[in-house]
Subunit: 301 residues, 2 copies
Amino acid sequence: MTDDHEYVSLVEVGPRDGLQFEDKVLCTQDKLDFIACVRRSGLRRIQVVSFVHPRRVPQMADAEQLVHSLSPSPEVEYSALVLNRTGLDRALSTPITCVEISVSASSTHSRRNTGMNRQEALAQATDMTVRARAAGLAVRASLQCAFGCVYEGSIDPRVVSEMAQALMDAGAQSLALADTTGMGHPESVRTVIAEVNKGIPSAQMALHLHDTLGFGLVNLVAGLDCGVRCFDVSCGGLGGCPFVPGAAGNIATEDTVYLLHALGYTTGVDWTGAAACTQKLEEVLGRRLPAKLRPGQKGVL
Amino acid sequence: MTDDHEYVSLVEVGPRDGLQFEDKVLCTQDKLDFIACVRRSGLRRIQVVSFVHPRRVPQMADAEQLVHSLSPSPEVEYSALVLNRTGLDRALSTPITCVEISVSASSTHSRRNTGMNRQEALAQATDMTVRARAAGLAVRASLQCAFGCVYEGSIDPRVVSEMAQALMDAGAQSLALADTTGMGHPESVRTVIAEVNKGIPSAQMALHLHDTLGFGLVNLVAGLDCGVRCFDVSCGGLGGCPFVPGAAGNIATEDTVYLLHALGYTTGVDWTGAAACTQKLEEVLGRRLPAKLRPGQKGVL
């Protein structure tokens, strides 16, 4: 237990990564209601959209409209995912102030998603980072498949580290290591972070974890042990990636918050509020989400 | 990662804790097939039955018949749960050589399950331990609700420790701390183990974890950090307790084995074999079990 109730920063990615591949396309107002609910639970960093082609991700077709409809607040950081130059152009046409520029550490995964190998995709991403920073945006870089890829297996941690360094050198202010396929385990988490840590302090790192093999929270604890203090979460554990067979949702906001508080950290988030968001989302989606903690949960201390 | 591939002992409790409260009562042959499948996956310690009144747990009505039908092997330790004197008498009438004598650390939980408060139940359990040992049985003591109780909330770790010591003093050779309601989290796991550790070395301890709040594997890692090297598991994460609202299954054998191997431990168990047991069990039960790893799972390293 930490003595000083150290703060852990959570980024709610449910509106983006969570909803991204849901079959049911939500109307903009339902998404705004979800985001408002998330804010009420205390989350202050919310990834709201991906500026991706609507043919690829129909759920994100209203990205501009959604960003324009948000009530700006100095207390809340809204961010958008951008995967290519067109996406960045679209982001720059909106009031969004923070973008995540994402590239895959696996060449096969990168080619399948973008048509570029990882070196080509990295070159584009560093250019985009320079341009986004020049335009006054805050930039978080992210590396997909940092802990393994269903096509390539393990990814060399030195490749992850070199790509991370290139993105930080280009001006990214923080770096998310993404376990896109949920293949990570505590040892690979520790190994990759240790390698990346040679150039980038853990205070600038975030972990984006998926619970595919049920190791999401175990990996979170491994990340905490390595000094990481920022994690992506999604209400209900919503999410997944259809381009990666078997990839499950993100670690659930409510379960993560409860665990972090039990471990003595503060988050500023009320897990029951997050669980209430999940409950509303389940009504909209018409299905139960994987989070374990429910509103009115018995057996919590 | 451990350098020497330290051994972790797993006890498969699926045939007992897992099946215990399934609505569908399996025929003895289906249970024997499940146990044989579990053996083939490399598990060498299997809790096969509970000698409990069949009105209370109809699934266990064939306990004697099942124990008599097992093929004994010097390589395999079969055990039975006994909760009272009648249960021990029944165990002694069979060839079973190992019993788990279990008592609740929560008086409310104990009274609801046994009609006795925890002191009365403890007195009975220590008597039973003496008698079982005198009859030549191996005895594992276990403490239910060691990490909290839905009726009482937190349980004083000193109460857990005193009860554990009384059972070991009576002749129990090992001690399982059971998170019956799945309320444990890494801090409570560490706190209770540290208290019990004052009298009982962690080498004699086991953890029996439920995944109610999704913290089963996080708690396993906390137990490993405290030196515990024995854990109860059930194929597929089968299990739960109807006397405890919301209590989910045990940690899944296949997921636990995969995680332990990723952490550098050996178990002697093949997770794909355990996952195959789960698949057969799902056919028999007609429902999907919570384990994450499936036979042919993509994205494993």
